[in-house]
């Protein structure tokens, strides 16, 4: 068995190999270094205007704001700190919808969006807003003609995710923004998985609001940001009221160390994005080549080119995803199926892609990131190959397929 070179700090032999970078990322040690002084000596309230403690904390926060803005070609005054992408999505969608409700009351989003977008939209429906949930193509991408047809003079907001958390596909943001603006609608994009991973430009992509997360880019958990365009100015109704911090859009004392951490993480992402993309692409291709050389009938969910290299969502036909996860306990991956919850339903995202239910039950999400090594990728591929082979030998569906029986021809009893 391959000996694993684990990164420093996590060398206990019993720890699984971490391949779940879409769930969260470890904090980059350089980010921690930037944050530390703000926990200890620079502990001032960044909103204190009367003394040096406040000023140095404020300077840390404002530097971070600039670092975030620079990664998306925005102005630092357009960055609002939040607790994370969930809050940013809530603030963007509900905030804009409520502010403009007298003029426009229609929102468009996709059925494959993150639950915090869908749930906010559902909630707004109870307040009287109309919401259109557009389907996606088999590759997970939006149909631009369909989107264009859905936008009306009543549409206030189009909300489409930049990079998908489950399947890693990249939506055509610039085209979506152009369509929204052509009919006077605003464009919000949930970029929790895109920020720091792919080049983003709020001007070139016609983006009015962008949700950002800290812990997806090797920054701390509990911090995020919302980009809110100033020219022309986008107004929103705050969700959290109080001292009027963040230009009244998000009251509450800023968590200085977390803001500094998000800024530092953004600066590192800006400097290293190109090299990291190259590295992750090589790791991803190495992994896939190894898997496909030994296992037939493995399918990639989501478009194969319009996707970030750090994500693979794979269906291993004839092997159930949760059983497979149990067979690869020394790998930390995510099951594409929602079977670990009480429901027997496979992922709503894979179903929206039209992945057949039996294949949707066989999927894994594998995420590579900054600290993933070649040795880990090889080890993970070998463990998955061994587990899939063992489980296929045990699978009645595999046996039928090998015997040429069409599984769809069987009258299955639903249970």
């Amino acid at each position: 068995m391959t000996t694993l070179q684990r990164r420093s700090g996590s060398n206990e032999p019993s720890r699984p190999v971490y391949l779940d970078y879409q769930a969260t990322t470890p904090l980059d040690p350089r980010v921690l270094d930037a944050m530390m002084p703000y926990f200890t000596e620079k502990y001032g309230n960044p909103h204190s205007r009367n003394h040096a403690y406040g000023w140095e904390a404020e300077e840390g926060v404002e530097t971070a704001r600039r670092q975030i803005a620079e990664l998306i070609n925005a102005d630092e005054r357009e960055i609002v700190f939040t607790s994370g992408a969930t809050e940013s999505n809530n603030l963007a969608i509900a905030g804009v919808a409520r502010f403009y409700k007298e003029k426009r009351n229609h929102i468009i989003t996709l059925v494959t969006e993150h639950k915090c977008v869908l749930d906010t939209c559902r909630h707004l429906e109870t307040e009287g807003f109309a919401v259109t949930y557009l389907p996606v193509h088999k590759d997970g991408l939006v149909d631009l003609a369909e989107l264009d047809a859905a936008i009306t003079g009543k549409t206030v907001l189009v909300s489409v995710m930049g990079v998908h958390n489950e399947i890693g596909v990249i939506q055509p943001l610039a085209e979506i923004g152009k369509l929204a603006h052509a009919k006077g609608a605003f464009f919000h994009t949930d970029c929790a998985q895109a920020f720091g991973k792919i080049p983003l430009d709020v001007e070139a992509m016609h983006i009015d609001l962008m949700s950002i997360s800290g812990h997806k880019i090797y920054g701390p958990k509990g911090i995020g940001a919302l980009y809110v365009r100033r020219k022309p100015r986008i107004r929103l109704q705050a969700l959290i009221h109080g001292g009027g911090q963040e230009r009244g859009m998000r009251s509450g004392t800023l968590p200085t160390p977390l803001c500094v951490g998000l800024g530092a993480a953004a600066a590192i992402a800006k400097a290293e994005m190109a090299a990291e993309t190259t590295k992750l692409t090589a790791l991803r291709d190495r992994f896939m080549a190894r898997i496909q050389s030994r296992l037939p009938e493995v399918f990639v969910n989501g478009d194969t080119t319009m996707r970030i290299p750090g994500n693979l969502n794979l269906s291993f036909a004839y092997v159930e995803g949760e059983g497979l996860m149990m067979g690869i306990k020394d790998l930390a991956v995510s099951s594409g199926s929602a079977c670990t919850s009480a429901s027997l339903e496979p992922s709503y995202v894979l179903r929206a892609l039209g992945v057949e239910e039996e294949l949707a039950h066989t999927s894994l999400r594998i995420g590579f990131g900054r600290f993933t090594t070649e040795a880990e990728v090889d080890y993970a591929a070998d463990r998955i190959i061994a587990a899939v082979q063992k489980l296929r030998e045990m699978s009645p569906l595999w046996e039928m397929a090998q015997a040429g029986v069409d599984i769809k021809s069987i009258q299955w009893a639903a249970h």
Binding site: V319, E320, E322, M326, T340, S341, E356, P396, L397, A413
Partner: protein, 135 residues
Amino acid sequence: MAYSEKLVDHFENPRNVGSFDKDDAAVGTGLVGAPACGDVMKLQIKVSADGIIEDAKFKTFGCGSAIASSSLVTEWVKGKTLDQAATIKNTQIAQHLVLPPVKIHCSVLAEDAIKAAIEDYRRKHITPDSEIANA
């Protein structure tokens, strides 16, 4: 989710994985579940001339609990008469493997698989052919 040692053992070292010839008169086959639901169990029993289940095999598409449940019942049915095997209840399976509540359906499926296999065997032995063979 923490699984019991027994469950993990059955998952990692499944007993009696395999298949018998389903057309063999001594074999009863139960195929239950559905791929779209994420669970399919095939349980086969081989019955001796004096009506005792002398061997059993399974193949299962499903989660760890489904695989462990089917592995367990292949052990349990061996040496039993058809009537005895038919009394195995899902609650016994769930209790033995300490299945979490969301996995109870796996034990239900295993019980269904035993019943289906027995039924298949009995069906084979009431066909005109077997009536003549037995006469």
